[in-house]
Symmetry: C2
Subunit: 114 residues, 2 copies
C-alpha cells in the first residue's frame, strides 16, 4: 500500500487502537511500523511492532488470541490507526477481555454534574 497519508513518529511508529468490531469495546493500543502494517494487510491478522522486543509481534501468536482484521481506519491527521477486529479470547495478557480494566477516580464524581 501507499503510506503517503500516514505519519510515523521519530521512531518510525504509529499508534494503533484495536476496537472489537462487535462489542465496540476498546481492547488495547499498540504500535505499528510500515512492515507490521504490510503484514497485517497480507495476513488479515493484527501484527504490531513490539517496542520491548524490537520485532514484529503477531498478536495471538503465542496465546492463540488473534485479532482478525475487519477494517482499518486512520485519523484526520494520519498519525493514528484504528483497527476494527474480531478478537479471539482475551486481548490482554492478564486474561482480561480488554487492557482497559482499571479506572482513575474522578474527583467530585459523576453526581457532580459531570
Amino acid at each position: 500500500m501507499n503510506f503517503a497519508d500516514l505519519k510515523f513518529n521519530d521512531q518510525g511508529l504509529i499508534p494503533a487502537i484495536a476496537q472489537d468490531v462487535n462489542t465496540k469495546e476498546v481492547l488495547m493500543l499498540a504500535w505499528m511500523n510500515p512492515e507490521s502494517i504490510e503484514s497485517t494487510l497480507k495476513t488479515g491478522k493484527a501484527t504490531y511492532w513490539s517496542r520491548s522486543r524490537n520485532k514484529l509481534w503477531i498478536k495471538g501468536e503465542s496465546s492463540g488470541n488473534y485479532q482478525r482484521i475487519r477494517n482499518i481506519l486512520y485519523d484526520c491527521d494520519g498519525d493514528t490507526l484504528l483497527l476494527l477486529v474480531e478478537q479471539t479470547g482475551a486481548a490482554c495478557h492478564t486474561g482480561s477481555r480488554t487492557c482497559f480494566y482499571r479506572e482513575i477516580p474522578i474527583e467530585g464524581g459523576k453526581e457532580n454534574g459531570r
Copy 2:
C-alpha cells in the same frame, strides 16, 4: 491524583483515546501530560497537551465541542488512557463526528475470509 500507575513517554506524555460513552465510537487520539490530566479531573472537560502549540488544549475551547468526562480508564501497562466522554457536536476539526473517517483498503477484501 497519584500518577504512580501511569507511564509517560520521554516527552512526558501519554496517549489518550476518546470514546463516545453513548455510541461507543472512537472519536480521536490526543496526548496528555500530568498537568492536563489534573485539569481534566478538576474541570470534568477533556484537556489535552497540544504538541503543535506546546500548551494545554481544552478540547472545545474554540469550537464549543467540549468532551465531558464520564470515566477515565488506563491500560494494563499504564501507558495509555481511555476517556469515555459525552461529545458535544463533532470531535474532529474537519466537522466529522469522529477523526477516523478514512479507511485503508484491505487487499483481498472481507470476502476473502477476513
